[in-house]
């Protein structure tokens, strides 16, 4: 087992963990050091759950509005708007 290989992987993991931390709304705000593994996992799970809830809620609202919409003109408008940003 080459120790050099593990050291590179540890760097990768540290990078991954800090990317996750910067993504999560709560751990991002912390000034001090690194969250514990347990806390990181808890907040990751909470974050994914809240995103799934958002998708569900947005699907509800889109469903309500799509019922009355003419989709062909609205599509063009949306794509244009996104291209502008």
């Amino acid at each position: 087992m080459s120790s050099r290989r593990s050291r590179v992987s540890e760097e990768e993991i540290n990078r991954l963990v800090s990317k996750l931390q910067s993504l999560l709304p709560e751990t991002r705000q912390r000034g001090a050091g690194r969250a514990s593994a347990a806390k990181l996992l808890k907040e990751t799970c909470n974050y994914i759950r809240s995103l799934n809830r958002d998708v569900d809620d947005l699907s509800d609202r889109l469903s309500a509005i799509m019922a009355t919409m003419d989709s062909s003109s609205a599509e063009a408008e949306m794509v244009r708007s996104l291209l502008r940003s």
Binding site: V17, D54, L62, M69, S71
Partner: protein, 186 residues
């Protein structure tokens, strides 16, 4: 971490395609049918934009379980559908990555033997380890295809999935905003 604009654009385009294919603006659909079509379109579009990775294949697998979804999935994913339907293979790297991950997360006990006086220290780290183990199980259920992932792959795919989900939410939110505005202009 953010996705490139091209990702969001691809997501939006395929989602709108999905809406067209399932005729969401027709009057014949119930609220729930429409909502499900919207959600399915959004998920398939997200998969299309991301391409083939373990969680997207996992998501296609779970969406495909419902036979009614197949037409819309094929319509949105097009040529990508076959490739995304391939079963996930287990990585041979799993045992090593799990060990390395645990070491980095500070979970491996360095002492092989614990004396009586070490008792308190041992129990708190044991509890920490158990809690982490429990939460990893929760994460595996939240991540599409997560059951077959471990260690580094699990976390890496989690990050990838979370970033993509956030993009999906952003696109849907923007679409809703524009739809409301365009509705008012009629």
């Amino acid at each position: 971490m953010q996705v490139p604009n091209s990702f969001k654009l691809a997501l939006l385009k395929q989602m709108l395609l999905g809406f067209q294919l399932s005729a969401v603006s027709s009057n014949s659909m119930s609220f729930h049918e429409r909502k499900n079509a919207i959600k399915l379109s959004a998920d398939a579009a997200m998969v299309f934009a991301r391409g083939s990775t373990r969680w997207t294949r996992g998501l296609v697998a779970s969406l495909s379980k419902n036979r009614n979804n197949e037409d819309l999935l094929r319509g949105i994913l097009g040529k990508k559908y076959e490739r995304l339907s391939l079963p996930c293979c287990n990585s041979w790297k799993i045992p090593r990555s799990r060990k390395i991950l645990k070491r980095c997360l500070g979970l491996c006990s360095r002492r092989k033997k614990a004396t009586g006086t070490q008792h308190d220290v041992k129990s708190s780290s044991t509890l920490a380890r158990r809690l982490v183990k429990k939460r990893i199980q929760v994460l595996k259920k939240l991540l599409p295809g997560g059951d077959s992932m471990e260690g580094f792959s699990l976390l890496d795919q989690t990050l990838d999935y979370a970033v993509s989900l956030k993009a999906q939410v952003d696109v849907m939110r923007r679409l809703l905003k524009i739809s409301k505005a365009s509705n008012l202009n009629k």
